[in-house]
């Protein structure tokens, strides 16, 4: 049996898994450098495997590779960095590159919504909380991971399943699933790709007609979560931390005679 793209992808993902395993913080003895090398190799291999499939090369392809590389590297740093602030900022990077990918897929509205909601609101709130909860030295929970091997194994299994399926897909002659099997949804909410209706109008129509119930429920969900968050934040909780013994102020430092 000749190796298909799917088999190659198994190898690539295994390599990447080992890289991520090495990169995860494990206290002393993390092999960060080796992990970075392996992860970079896996990334390069993934791109070259995918590049074999690409027939037409244009600026979209180039942008796709640039932004997907940034997104993947950023995601790796999100889960491997020992400082939560950096994790959050790398996540902003992931969001921006994902937004760029959405623009490549002509989903401009969603791209900007992603930036506004994630980068503009959610991540600022995350940063706010991280800053409030920061400690002087990196706590042990940031320096040591929890069962990194099993976690990476779970990730690999997931990826392997996807790779197997994608490997099958690559053998198909057509590039798009749509041509192979038009779904019911395609028939109902069909929007031609090159229409004079802009993306914003199209998504508005879809949300306001077909998904109006879901839209209303989403609004209610937001309201509920807002109420919940306010209720949580309002609650005064007794702290369980023991106040550490403080040296009385007069005993800190040297006695200085009055001038």
């Amino acid at each position: 049996m000749t190796p298909t793209t799917g088999h190659l992808l198994y190898l690539v993902f295994a390599l990447g898994g080992v890289g991520v395993y090495l990169l995860l913080p494990k206290g002393r003895g993390s092999q960060v450098r080796a992990g970075a090398v392996l992860g970079g190799l896996a990334l390069a291999a993934l791109i070259s495997v995918l590049a074999t499939r690409i027939v037409v090369t244009n600026s979209t392809t180039a942008f796709f590779y640039v932004f997907s590389t940034i997104a993947m590297l950023g995601a790796v740093r999100v889960i491997t960095h020992t400082k939560p602030v950096y994790s959050a900022l790398y996540f902003v990077l992931v969001v921006i590159s994902v937004a760029a990918l959405l623009v490549l897929m002509q989903a401009e509205f969603l791209a900007i919504a992603l930036i506004m909601v994630y980068a503009g609101a959610i991540m600022v709130t995350y940063l706010f909380v991280i800053m409030l909860a920061q400690q002087d030295t990196a706590p042990v929970c940031d320096r040591r991971s929890h069962e990194p091997f099993l976690a990476v194994l779970a990730g690999f299994v997931l990826m392997a399943a996807v790779a197997g399926r994608c490997g099958d897909l690559t053998t198909a002659s057509g590039d798009t699933i749509a041509q192979a099997s038009p779904t019911k949804a395609t028939l109902v909410a069909n929007v031609p790709e090159s229409s004079d209706v802009g993306n914003t109008t199209a998504i508005g129509r879809a949300v306001m007609t077909r998904y109006i119930v879901a839209f209303e429920i989403a609004g209610v969900l937001l309201l509920v979560s807002m109420v919940g968050a306010i209720a949580l934040a309002k609650k005064k909780l007794p702290t369980e931390t023991v106040e550490e013994e403080r040296t009385p102020i007069g005993q800190i430092g040297r006695e200085v005679p009055p001038y």
């Binding site: 602030v85 900007i112 609101a121 709130t125 800053m131």
Partner: protein
């Protein structure tokens, strides 16, 4: 030349115009920002009965050059206790964000190039308005990262204040912009400008300012808060926080924070101009009508929009040197208890008018605004706490036990 480029390299005329415009706008903005600082100092001086900078060059006009040289050659101090990477990243980030907001502003309508009409706009995306909002929402990162990376008390306070302030004021700002979007029915800034070029009763220009004055006012307030301008400059508050988020910065990095603030002001002014003041449109002047597409019309339109931006810049500076700074709880209460309810009411009003198809009718919109103002006045007079006054969450003032306790010891 454009014909040559389009024929030889296969680029569209719009692309060439966009690239040229991007370069011109960024260049003009750098100079404009430098002269904003000059005029800020001049205006502050005039308000305080002084001369202001008048030493470098005639009338002090070369002061920005001198400032720039100083920013370049001062010692660039990076304190030892900072988080180096983020400390260096923050000014670049804030500068970048303040520069890219320009891309969607329509500077001069359309230009006839041979057969084609090109937009005098770097990009005219379907989502122009959202793009500017998205970029503006990224603006807080520079402040937050700078404040956090400085690893020092006052910058940290500045960063915390900046986050809370920006998130709070984005809500009324977004609602005000939504009012315009609902009225105009498009997110393209060029279309929004063109829709404002008509006249009511034959002589009142159809600017949104006359349709939704309340939204215009509130958007202006929110823009002040978003650009960290007085009276909302709590994140840098010299008197309490030394310099807030940029306390630890010096030389060129500080200069970038400084320039970014003015860049932000220019972008916001341009946005308000386009949304509420008809962009490049000047009534009764045939060169600034949408039909005029000659090159001199484009120049005239650019002049008009720049003049409107300058008016807003002057207004911002005037306000800065007049009003004292808010206290933080006042700031928050203004946003959450005053502006957000009012803008929500405006939003509901606009939706209602839209339902009856009256959204472009000034009589209905203005009377709706008037009703909201009256309700606001009555509610401010009867219920709710005033924005000023003592903070409600502070403990009551009690006689200090200190002296008695000391006497007992």
């Amino acid at each position: 030349m454009i014909e040559f480029l389009t024929s030889q390299f296969g680029v569209s005329a719009q692309f060439v115009v966009s690239v040229v415009l991007a370069l011109v706008v960024i260049g003009a903005m750098q100079g404009g920002v430098a002269y904003c600082i000059y005029f800020e100092r001049k205006i502050s001086a005039w308000i305080q009965d002084r001369y202001g900078p008048n030493r470098v060059g005639p009338l002090g006009l070369l002061q920005p050059v001198a400032d720039g040289v100083k920013f370049f050659f001062k010692e660039d101090v990076v304190p030892r206790h900072v988080d180096k990477v983020l400390f260096i990243l923050a000014p670049g980030m804030i500068m970048f964000v303040s520069l890219i907001g320009f891309a969607a502003i329509p500077w001069g309508g359309q230009l006839q190039l041979g057969e084609k009409l090109v937009n005098i706009q770097v990009a005219n995306p379907d989502i122009g308005l959202l793009y500017i909002l998205g970029v503006a929402s990224m603006g807080v990162y520079g402040v937050v990262i700078g404040g956090w990376a400085s690893n020092s008390k006052y910058p940290f306070f500045g960063a915390i204040r900046a986050t809370a302030q920006m998130i709070s004021y984005e809500i009324p700002m977004g609602l005000c912009i939504l009012v315009v979007v609902l009225t105009m029915g498009t997110l393209r800034l060029e279309d929004i400008t063109q829709l404002q070029t008509g006249y009511w009763l034959g002589f009142i220009p159809q600017w949104n300012m006359f349709l939704h004055p309340l939204a215009f006012l509130i958007l202006f307030i929110c823009v002040l808060a978003e650009a960290n301008r007085a009276p909302f400059d709590l994140s840098e508050a010299e008197q309490e926080l030394v310099g807030g988020f940029h306390t630890e910065y010096s030389a060129l990095k500080f200069g970038m924070f400084f320039l970014a603030e003015y860049g932000h002001m220019i972008t916001s002014s341009a946005l308000i101009t386009v949304l509420f003041l008809g962009g490049w449109h000047l009534p009764w002047f045939s060169w600034t009508q949408p039909e005029a597409t000659q090159w001199y019309a484009v120049v005239a339109k650019m002049g008009v929009i720049s003049a409107k931006i300058v008016v807003f810049l002057f207004l911002m500076m005037w306000i800065r040197w007049t009003l004292p700074r808010f206290r933080f709880d006042q700031l928050m209460r203004l946003a959450w208890q005053r502006l957000i309810p009012v803008t929500l009411a405006l939003f509901v009003l606009t939706v209602g008018l839209l339902y009856f198809g009256l959204h472009r009718s000034p009589v209905w919109a203005l009377s709706g605004n008037a009703v909201i103002v009256v309700v606001m006045l009555v509610s401010a007079g009867t219920v709710g706490k005033e924005v000023t006054g003592r903070q409600p969450n502070l403990p009551r003032i009690q006689e200090s036990p200190g002296a008695a306790a000391l006497a007992g010891v």
